[in-house]
Amino acid sequence: MDVVADFFRTLNATTGWNFSIFHDAFDARRFWSAFWVTVQLAGISVLFSVIIGIAGAFVQSMRFAPLRWLINGYIAFFRNTPPLVQMYFFFFALGAITPTARDDIGMDVPIVSSFVWALVALSFFAGAFNVEIFRSGIEAIPRATVEAAESLGYSKLKAYIFIILPLAFRICLPSLNNNLVNLIKTTTLAYAIGVPEMLYVANQIWSDTLNVVEMMNVLLILYIGLVSLLVWMMHRWEKAMRMPGYGA
């Protein structure tokens, strides 16, 4: 631990490259907690956006038209507006009408934190695309396969869970991958509503420490790392779901 700190302290002294997050305890603490916020933001919104995609695509396959319209409206809204505006909308518009609570020093604080609003905005944003992605996967499944399930007594829901969804996943995995990579990158928009995620805190650090270039490099490398981790996990999953004899 000290070896690393000493190395970066020496680097700073000899070259002027100031990676303060490795040798300054205060910068280190705030930066790594921001990193953790970003990981949580990314991980949880990936999870919820996939759940929204799965549920939305199922609702869209139902006969009941009003629910389908609702999902179509939701998709249209989130696909055709900028994610930054969505983030503001959730935080300022919905944040203004949700209740507040009095904290121990007598301040009114919102019950729903900016972190939660960012999570909601990101999940709905990526979820809208996931509904479309899953739907395209479902539509690519041959009608005959669905009929076989029906004739074996599967209800709509059971056919969806055991047959349609597993096949749709395999078909749409490449587009799902793209969308989730995008989602990880979009977590930086939480900056705009003051969520102390990586970009937000990096900005604070380089304002205080005047090490913009260094922090930029750290940010880029960490985002590459996060995205690579996701891609690697998706790849593992894809291999586990391989259907021998089907080329893909």
């Binding site: 009929e147 076989a148 004739s151 074996l152 007594g153 599967y154 055991f162 096949l167 089907y246």
Partner: protein, 244 residues
């Protein structure tokens, strides 16, 4: 005289304004093998699909045992447990192995004990002569092998009647025979079968009774020897001349 297993009366069905079935009636007794032949588009598939409620019909009635297929509160699971169906296209679930395909519905739909279902499924894999292919994925099997897995998959639900809708029509000629042999064995063991087929020789050999359909009606029916050698209707003659 026991009641017929399947009883169809004055069945009609239109797709949009096109009438597809225009009053079809017949009975199927337990243990019988019924052949249904006729030109393409005459409504053969639609009859089978009405029987297991894959498509709703317009009027008339279908009973399978005591199940009224036309009832508004039809218990589809109960119906489909009695009625197995194999289709023209191979439609195994490609993400599951052959054995898993056979086991899935009894376990997931009927919630039967997995170990017991597996014993049954393995026996069925042997029955359709696919011992050793249990772990193969559908994509690794030939068309004929896939169709035999599909037959085993339906049988694992322990149905009382099997519907076969031109199950060999999409197969390579070499593999048609192995599938027909499997169906023939089933019929000979006393499984009630409704077999829609273009294989006239097969219908003649296996069926106890053959129905000839054209434009949504049953034109003629009878025991296969009579129907094939001495058809009485012009349309039947013309059809048989074309296909034999």
């Amino acid at each position: 005289m026991t009641a017929p297993l399947i009883r169809i009366r004055d069945l009609t069905k239109s797709f949009g304004i096109t009438p597809v079935l225009r009053g079809v009636s017949f009975d199927v007794n337990k243990g019988e093998a019924i052949g249904i032949i006729g030109p393409s588009g005459s409504g053969k598939s639609t009859i089978l699909r009405c029987i297991n409620a894959l498509v709703p019909f317009d009027s008339g009635s279908i009973h399978v045992g005591e199940v009224d297929v036309g009832a508004p509160n039809l218990d589809r699971i109960a119906l489909r447990r009695r009625v197995g169906m194999v289709f023209q296209q191979y439609n195994l679930f490609p993400h599951r192995t052959a054995l898993q395909n056979v086991m899935m519905a009894p376990v997931q739909v009927l919630k039967q004990n997995k170990a017991e279902v597996e014993v049954r499924a393995r026996a069925l894999m042997r029955k359709v002569r696919l011992e050793g292919k249990e772990g193969a994925f559908p994509g690794e099997l030939s068309g004929g092998q896939q169709q035999r897995v599909a037959i085993a998959r339906s049988l694992c639900m322990q149905p009382e009647v099997m519907l076969f809708d031109e199950v060999t029509a999409a197969l390579d000629p070499e593999t048609v025979k192995e599938v027909l042999v499997t169906i023939r064995e089933l019929a000979e063991e006393g499984m009630t079968c409704l077999i829609v087929t273009h294989e006239m020789a097969f219908a003649r050999d296996v069926a106890d009774h053959v129905y000839f359909t054209d434009s949504g009606i049953i034109v003629e029916h009878g025991d296969p020897k009579t129907l094939f050698s001495a058809p009485t209707h012009e349309r039947t003659k013309a059809f048989l001349e074309r296909v034999l």
